[in-house]
Symmetry: C2
Subunit: 354 residues, 2 copies
Amino acid sequence: MFSRKARLKDIAALAGVSIGTVDRVLHNRGQVAEKTQERILKIARELNYTPNIMARALKTRKGFNLVSLLPAPADENAFWLKHPEGIAKAMSELEQFPINLTQITFNFNSESDFQKKAKDLLKKPPDGIILAPLFRSQSIQFCSELKNKKIPFVFVDNYLTETNFLAYVGEDIFRSGRVAGQLAGLLTAADEDILIVNIAKNIRNMHHLNQRVKGFRSYFSGSDRMKSKIFILNIPDTKRKTVKEMTDKILSDHPCIKTIFVTGSKSFIIAEYIHSSGHKQMNIIGYDLIDKNVEYLRKGIIRFIIGQRPEEQTYRAVKKLFDYLSFNKLPEKMEYLPVDIVTSENVDFFINNI
Amino acid sequence: MFSRKARLKDIAALAGVSIGTVDRVLHNRGQVAEKTQERILKIARELNYTPNIMARALKTRKGFNLVSLLPAPADENAFWLKHPEGIAKAMSELEQFPINLTQITFNFNSESDFQKKAKDLLKKPPDGIILAPLFRSQSIQFCSELKNKKIPFVFVDNYLTETNFLAYVGEDIFRSGRVAGQLAGLLTAADEDILIVNIAKNIRNMHHLNQRVKGFRSYFSGSDRMKSKIFILNIPDTKRKTVKEMTDKILSDHPCIKTIFVTGSKSFIIAEYIHSSGHKQMNIIGYDLIDKNVEYLRKGIIRFIIGQRPEEQTYRAVKKLFDYLSFNKLPEKMEYLPVDIVTSENVDFFINNI
DNA sequence: CTGAAAGCGCTTACAG
DNA sequence: CTGAAAGCGCTTACAG
């Protein structure tokens, strides 16, 4: 009724040997007579043999220690709250296997903290690592150590081409900027202008955000669709006073600004200020479904949020690492998750939804 | 190093019985002395016992026959091309288990063909069914037979509340209409009007499409945000002549129409006509990432496509059925997939992406 | 170079 | 009411 899978036993019977010999051939271990070997391989091929992974897992029971090294979530970067959820989900699906995953976090603003945590974890080298490479040079150095120690690692959030990472799961950053550009274009009339706002304290953010700005601008470049002017504002911190002064200034200098693109997850700060300060209504576009952004999205103060599925990044990263370590399965190297366009009407589908 | 899971053996040792007895208690079979039973349950709880599903699967090796009963994809409903992909993906992930899934298709326009196929498949009753209930009364009847025969079934695409379905995976139809409404609102100025187009040959479509229309209208109702008028056009077939005549008429009667919402997957037909007929440019919003729609989306002739993840519907449906049959796991009953907002800039992420 | 045997954790039929 | 044993398909250490 069901076409049974071929077993070692079947191959052994046909080849007239024991299953031990078949196994030796199939795993390239031990010395087996050339002729026997050929015969066995031929039969295995004909029977389309693939091992029963249940039986293998049951027998082998090899455990792995994994480590995730991600920024600690804090008020100012609630974005990183979502990543542990994806890890938890993946681990619960893999509950049957003897895996440990230790979550290590580092201070979002401290390169030395990252270095310290990275160094510490290597004292007891894990079998695989999930890593958000926020700090470029420190990450490159760390990854070269991982390479020396032959520890595979998967990037989330961003990647560094100069390392030999096993895989990347995350946003196509440039592309997501283009999507934002398209949305801004839809919201902005020909006689209205656009403001890009970067809110960044540290250099990492700048790199990430600059990519989005590039993508955003690229959507408009070379086309005639854009008569609006595009201004840019870099706000160095999130103090209310700084935000107020800098925003007020640029908006009064350029009264035609109607659309504001906030390149990071802090659009709620701009939304809050615009909303409470008596400025005219703006079209605000931002990133990431953190609670405060969602709140302003529902209120209609933020128009669009672009989502990058942070939980799914870590979820898939864990799965990739597991498949690689357990089944030698080489994962798809670059896995760009969809750029989600989220509004007040479809936001419910995207939160608490992993 | 790894916290080992408790095994039957461990419980047996602590309870001073054999693993056979433990198993009998845990599966509520056979007669076990009250006292022994209590002791064993207590220990199992304390040890937080969960069975090792690898071992169980290896031993049990119970096979299932599943059937999917979905419309045959055809030129006129390319939407249904995607569903087999999700089935294929799920089956390849479950390759290790002795499962069969037979895909049965019926003619999208023929209720009698559905009835025939449904009847035929029951001659050899499967262990579970995945079903798209296009034809209401015929589906209800079929589902009541399934209930009698105790065959579990999962709906995709739509559901019928009066049946005892195991689960539904698909769109929140009303809600997706609301999302379309919001997008239309963004694209339409106060002095411009909106046209809703239903293209439907059969009654099923009408129900589905009407729900979307309701959602669409509900977005505008009771709010003052809408000064535009909303017209509706029902096109009974897709002949070029019919489309031309009816579209021309309504657009000349109402020259302020600027946005067209096509409630089904045939927005490419409207896009094609508008584009090639010398009408002024319209904002077109449609459904489903079938090739022709994607083509017009990329060209900028369709503005937004709303996606409902057809592959994921069947993928999850198969998984739910499998988990239910194999592990007695009751699935989440209503699983609404996200309403995806797709534009020319993020469409790449949503095609060939399962 | 090859075979026989133990055992992963579970389920099930049999014996008592 | 309970235990002992076989076996799912694989891997591995041992014996020859």
